[in-house]
Symmetry: C2
Subunit: 339 residues, 2 copies
Amino acid sequence: MAVTLAEVARKAGVSLATASRALNGSKRAVTPELRERVLAAAEELSYVPNAHAQALARSTTALVGVIVHDVSDPYFSEITRGIQSVASESGHLVSICSSFRDPVREMAYVRLLTAHRVEALILAGSGLDDRSYSQSMATQIESFTAFGGRVAFIGRHNIPGDAVIPDNVGGARLLGHLLAELGHRRIGVVGGPPLVTSSRDRLEGFRLGLADYGLELPSEWVRSGDFSRDGGARATSELLELLPDLTAICALSDVMAVGVLTALKERGISVPDQVSVVGFDDVPLASDVTPTLTTVHVPMFELGKRALSLALHGEGDELRVEHLPTQIVIRQSTSRCNV
Amino acid sequence: MAVTLAEVARKAGVSLATASRALNGSKRAVTPELRERVLAAAEELSYVPNAHAQALARSTTALVGVIVHDVSDPYFSEITRGIQSVASESGHLVSICSSFRDPVREMAYVRLLTAHRVEALILAGSGLDDRSYSQSMATQIESFTAFGGRVAFIGRHNIPGDAVIPDNVGGARLLGHLLAELGHRRIGVVGGPPLVTSSRDRLEGFRLGLADYGLELPSEWVRSGDFSRDGGARATSELLELLPDLTAICALSDVMAVGVLTALKERGISVPDQVSVVGFDDVPLASDVTPTLTTVHVPMFELGKRALSLALHGEGDELRVEHLPTQIVIRQSTSRCNV
DNA sequence: CTACTCCGTGAAAGCGCTTTCCGTATCGCT
DNA sequence: AGCGATACGGAAAGCGCTTTCACGGAGTAG
């Protein structure tokens, strides 16, 4: 059944040690002739090394773990693509877990990945800005790093570890500028979960942007969706009720913005003629909907790439935080306010 | 640094064996008092077992491997969600790999996952209907199953293994019926890569559907995209050149259909007034675009769930193939032909 | 009170691999 | 020819854990 290195060695008529060296092309050279014999034997028996045994012996695993909110959310799937792209270069195997922003689940996954001694652990999404959460997460992470692995966070940095974060504040600020310049004054905001750091940053940025034009954003005009399409639609209903004459809606994620678009369409409100809509992230979806979405481009793929690179090539205790620029992309969903 | 079970045992003043039993709640009971001591010691040292050592000792890994075409393609991310949902129930860790339909990459991943002795291996996407490909894939798979793992394919069954496949033929046939009934006669088709089995099935189904109404589909009217948005757009250009007076386009995947929609919009062709468009899959995106897409619903999440269930609970050599029904979903992108 | 069965515990044998440490054979040099 | 230096193969010691096996003490029955 399970063919082991021992059998390969026997078949090739060499010792275990030699067989191992031949297959790994180790420092220590092996006579070409022997190497060939071993390779042939391995091939013939269709030997596949046991990664666990290797991990144990080498105490290194070539594994990386990723915990995201939800793989099927385009924001995160772009990120995982980025991660995979560097992982496949470096020969690492990627384990992806979806936490659905459930702290308990998330902790469980961190522990599981710790057990697997992944060399790098990437956490994206979640990032609750909650005392007890970050407390226990921090200790959890600590017990991970104790094994020599490195963590990298994407989009948050409230817990010790490398981090790569998009310029949420700056991007959102530009959104504020844009809307202000277009003459919008009554603007509804569909934010993310209030406890999530990136929600906060984006909201704050947007506020700042409006403030730059002397505008205020009453907090009743901010509704929080949960970064989901339906959340966006729900928030839109609430907003419309509260502020029937609004002329713009700023959704702090594209997925939610799509929900906004849907809700508006259902009510026969035309975008951008009656209401302008902006999103955030620039997921592929943003350019597929009608009208195409004005949004802030977040380099998701790059975020993933950088995060893994940091974690893989980091050393020492020095933690690096990288900020990636965002930039506004103007499409069809926004226009000058005409009331 | 790395705290081992031995240290926990020492700290608790028990033997290695007892410590192990206490932690695993093994058959062989342990005196409650001792168990507590061990648990406390483990907690205090923040001990996390080494999964590799466990895997080696138990020769079982609680790991499952998944190879898809591309995680960020919504079709596959829905599938992986399904997979993860059952994996998290059964406590399995999921490793996800994107092959980008590259046979070489795919093989490499199969081998890698074999090395990790995953208990279940799910393959979705690809499925080239190519002699030499399936040949070598089959032997690769064989060397995997030799270790006691099980494979499950999603959407193909040209290689021995469990499989769960959507009713591609049936669904596409309904699409044929729909378009025929709406009076369309000049219909362009945007198919998937010709070598991929599901592309073929869908194309065949569509042909059958038209045939049921006495209509023929000249093969020049079939252009193949590559299941990508841009592929869909490109194919549309070709089709339009070849068949300027077409009244409907059938895209054999939603993502391509979105490309079709975009291309049409660019040319100022209105959907569905001038041209009807249908897709396939019913990814979330399909109901986000404008007009919303008439398509065939493929139970992707379910596909993932079933595949892993099959692989996890299968036994013996008997291979099970499950067919999941598809069903047509009529939305806004189709209308009666009015020429 | 002896004989016998349970049951909790520990010692030790692996699981499949890597790698250090030796031993031997080969080579180049004086 | 004799010497050290070099190179390569093999034996064996782990890596961290599970599990079989053996053991001794406690409990039950005769």
